[in-house]
Amino acid sequence: MSFLLVQALSGLATAATLFLVSSGLTIVFGVTRIVNFAHGSLCMIGAYLGWSLIERFGGSVGGFWGSVALASLGAGALGAAMEVGLLRRLYRSPELFQLLGTFGVVLVAQDAVAWVWGPEDLMGRRAPGLKGSVDILGQPFPLYDLVLIGLGPLVLGLLWLLFTRTRWGVLVRAATQDRDMASALGVDPARLFTGVLFLGSALAGLGGALQVPREAVNLHMDMAMIVEAFVVVVVGGMGSLTGAFLAALLIGQLQAFGILVFPQITLVLVFLFMAVVLVLRPHGLMGRAEDAPPAAAAAAPVLRLGNRGGWIALALLALLATAPLLVGDYAVIVLTEMVILALFAASLHVLIGLGGLVSFGHAAYFGLGAYGAALLVRHLGAPMPLALAAAPLVAGLGALIAGWFCVRRSGLYFAMLTLAFAQITWSVAFQWSGFTGGDNGLLGIWPSAWASGKAVYYWLTLALCAGALALLRRAAFAPFGYALRAGRDSALRAESVGIDVRRHQWCAFALAGSAAGLAGGLYAFAKGSVFPTLMAVSVSVDALVMILLGGVQTVSGPLAGAALFHLLESQVMRATDLWRLLLGLTIVALVLLFPRGIVGVLSNRRERS
């Protein structure tokens, strides 16, 4: 009994930190309508800043809490700077660009923090005066955790006072509901939003700094924190403070007891919980229906490729086919990966370009294909052709299941659900080490003897990918594709002329998943190994960046984007360690300069001339 009580209390302590970080995220979302990916990075920066300050001044009680406050303010200032430099320009952009832009900041922050504080985990000092533990029914419980438990409701109360009892709070709530009307009444929304970003980021920093005495500060905190905070915010209802508090409590308990019952799948548990809540209560526990229409990734049409375009595609294919005769092995390897990534990006484009469905977890199906093929080889000794045939089937099946949940929601919730399913597959691959090899992955997944030559495998890849691409293109210009686009541009109108929008989106999800799975299977044999990182958020984002580079509006865009992206990646990564920093800055610059992508800009120019 007492053990369960202590477990519940430690769940409450986890919930307190979770609430601090999530409250910031939900406040920022409520006002700006942007899901700030960099919120986790601000939490991490708060923790690192807190660590440094506590090392220096944390010997006394005042020094410790002063350091925590200072770290929180530091994170707040960074958040405010981010609003002025980036978010302010994105308020009217499609959500794909908002998510990508803030993810660019995540990448920059990762390399910047590693550069300043180094790659090692940093163990912080314990809080002076709170080092001991108290006895709770005969079980020791850390005093510091008790303080944290009290801090959660305290912050909730203070935030409530701020938003209901101060003029600033009232203005923020007004601007949340109707930004234009508030500004027509003389409220400067820009200044207000900078303030909101400051507040939200300071809360993230506070949550981070308070973790210093509890666990080691590390470079994975940003993604871990943002993913958990997302879940809390989505479960609680986007923009709702009390919802976030309730959800943090539930998830804290789920984690505290889940680890006792299912130690292997604690990560999965949290996401399953979120998926179930979203299906039962689509707007979260305390959320309300959004009346704003989901911003489509691109309202502009996907144009049919003319005759000339068809010839160009064939000529390009012929040129690619002759490449192994002209260039060396290394170039052939790079080309193989480029072709695979082109299929991967094109499969995501089916969802984004045609369906207007921004998936933030497309890597799941790439990874399912790769793991499907690799597991068949490893556990059943299947030959390569069989494994390659299974890859799209496994991924397609996974997409069919995940898609059933995901297409029930649109816009941001769709993006978050796809992310959740990607995290589920990732955590299975990561935690179920007996079957999947865990963090060590599966090695020795090589092609059959007849295809073991680099050139032969390249030709095989090219043939399969070109075939799959032709199929995707055919689907885009078939009635199926038109129906999908109709649903993208106006779900209501499409429904009223008899199109079952959800079913079309579900089919598109499965189709995109299978195509990504084929790409994943080919990738596994090209690399000879698979790792859980294939399903990581960053791979999903890579695919989004490829599409962003190429432009959302055209069928050929993603192919060009994938080629350019892989070329840049393979060249820059060889030259510098700061690949993520450069990639992040590139993403931010792209989002700010070319909201329609590169091909989009070119075709825009053509239209004009």
Binding site: V170, L171, Q177, D180, M181, A182, L185, V187, D188
Partner: protein, 245 residues
């Protein structure tokens, strides 16, 4: 003392010249010219879709892309953002009311509050509750639980909290019961008596006739007729050409 010429105030509070607005490729206003003199109530009249709402929004800085000269109290405001325009003393009352539904009546008024302005009547919640007695009884009520007429009163009261010198009033009588429409007309006359200038857009000529000194008639994004309100009411030919449905 001779009254100023009826359709050209010599030193207008608001002067709009060649105002053009586009929504995407649609050219909504092709060149609107109008003036509002100090202490004057001007009606902007036109059929549905003539561009009345767009004109008011564009003056307020809420239109996506606008071109043309707008001066307020001698200052060009054609390129300012809405909040800066509001702080100069322009009060905007939208037709769709746009109450902050989650906020109480008191909180809605608080959002509109701006410092007192020399030369403009100074409003406090108490003074506004005297003007709109219905609102006084529901200070703690949220916008979601108010009738259309009450919302319209609150919208006007909220804008007055900014102590404006000029009100842009968009279709205040739309969708309201006749008794509320009469109350609105009374309110507008009382505001004029306090020294406020008003530009009111209306489809309802009888409401306009009850409050306005002058009128500008809008059709297809341009002002086709302007003159004294009384002259408009007397001239059936003009009304038939531009206003009959």
């Amino acid at each position: 003392m001779t009254p100023p010429a009826p359709h050209t105030p010599s030193d207008p509070l608001l002067r709009v010249e060649g105002l053009q607005v586009w929504y995407g490729h649609a050219h909504i206003l092709t060149g609107v010219d109008l003036t509002v003199g100090r202490g004057e109530v001007v009606a902007l009249i036109g059929r549905n879709g003539a561009g009345k709402t767009t004109t008011l929004k564009a003056i307020m800085g809420l239109a996506e892309s606008r071109r043309g000269n707008v001066t307020f109290d001698g200052r060009p405001i054609g390129t300012l953002p809405p909040h800066a325009i509001a702080r100069l003393g322009l009060g905007y009352v939208p037709e769709d009311r746009r109450i902050f539904a989650d906020l109480t009546v008191d909180e809605n008024l608080e959002v509109g509050r701006q410092p007192p302005r020399p030369g403009a009547p100074h409003w406090t919640p108490d003074r506004l509750f005297a003007l709109f007695p219905n609102l006084a009884a529901m200070r703690g009520r949220r916008g979601t639980r108010m009738s259309g007429g009450e919302q319209q009163m609150l919208t006007l009261a909220r804008t007055l909290m900014g102590n404006p010198t000029l009100l842009l009033l968009d279709e205040p009588s739309e969708g309201l019961a006749p008794i509320i429409v009469r109350q609105m007309a009374d309110a507008v006359r009382r505001l004029k008596a306090e020294g406020l200038s008003v530009l009111v857009s209306e489809q309802n000529t009888s409401f306009a006739a009850a409050v306005a000194d002058r009128a500008s008639v809008l059709e297809k994004g341009q002002v086709r007729w302007s003159g004294r309100m009384a002259d408009l009411m007397a001239d059936e030919a003009v009304r038939r050409t531009y206003l009959a449905v």
